[in-house]
Symmetry: C2
Subunit: 192 residues, 2 copies
């Protein structure tokens, strides 16, 4: 049997029920025949400063990523219209290493729609036909779930992006989209 290690990236570590959520994702990953690699798998050493603690966690998570064959990134918007920035870093990290990359979001509205909503829909086309907000900033419109580097990085590597539609109160805890992307990933990764 092939052993495929999958790094489970996402903002679950910030949730009030972080341990429970990570454990549910770990159990689903095992049930799909994959080996979960999860932030929190390694103990964080005691450090004399806050900064050194952050550096220690960063080093551990990079070590865990290197030990994995693939990433499944939870790109659900976190504290704003965009994915958790740490998860975006991790997705770029794994794509650069040539690991298999998958992602999901629990919000159905795509990047363009979420950005437009931030401006109450006041988006106009500039002379070049590019959508812009009233503050002059361009608005990405590529049928993607977040910035094109993330969605593009995954699809150009043959990975998949699954779009869920969780109720507002469950966008950080619903695991239906995660289960779907897990099935897709397992199908590919366990055969290759």
């Amino acid at each position: 049997v092939r052993e495929v290690r999958v790094y489970l990236a996402g903002p679950e570590v910030f949730l009030p029920n972080a341990r429970e959520m990570l454990d549910r994702k770990i159990a689903l990953t095992r049930a799909a025949g994959l080996i979960p690699v999860s932030p929190g798998d390694l103990a964080i050493p005691d450090t004399p400063t806050k900064k050194l603690k952050g550096l220690a966690i960063s080093a551990i998570d990079e070590q865990l990523m290197r030990s994995a064959d693939a990433i499944i990134a939870n790109l659900t918007p976190f504290r704003g219209i965009h994915a958790d920035t740490g998860t975006c870093y991790e997705l770029g990290f794994m794509c650069a290493l040539g690991k298999a990359a998958y992602a999901y979001t629990n919000v159905a509205a795509n990047h363009f729609d979420r950005t437009a909503a931030l401006y109450d829909g006041a988006i106009t086309l500039d002379a070049a036909g590019r959508p812009r907000a009233l503050d002059g900033l361009a608005v990405e419109d590529f049928d993607m779930i977040d910035n094109l580097m993330m969605h593009g990085g995954i699809e150009s590597r043959g990975g998949a992006v699954v779009v869920g539609n969780a109720p507002a109160e469950a966008i950080h805890t619903d695991l239906a989209a995660f289960a779907r992307v897990l099935t897709l990933a397992a199908e590919v990764l366990l055969k290759s």
Copy 2:
């Protein structure tokens, strides 16, 4: 003379004066003795769909990154309290490839302070002494400018993070912090 190529990551591409801003960063980079590699350096092919255009830009930017020896990432908050997510992906990408990594922000308030402000300062310590917002989400408090993966990824590689303090109306156009990090990077990269 050593030729060191530096990828200039940041949300400048979205600005109304994107070309001007990219050109100013390119000129400053050249003046520092480094070779700028800038999003927009390569032409984007015509594509039949929006999605394919996004994929084409993603592929070009990854190609540009691979051609560079280092990255300077503009992590100034963009449309919210966090850095541009595409820039975060790119920073992770370059760190994984073992490239030299530098960053700056034009906002002096750190990640903890910006997150606390999002909750009007209503942050309390949980039983484990971890700061949490009223919605239960943990708040990172590591004396860092954004999520620990970014700040940690840079510092653990010997890179530097420069914190500027631009006036509110100039946070996307002020280049003082960029010029400072450029000087630091050139000092290291041109000697190594």
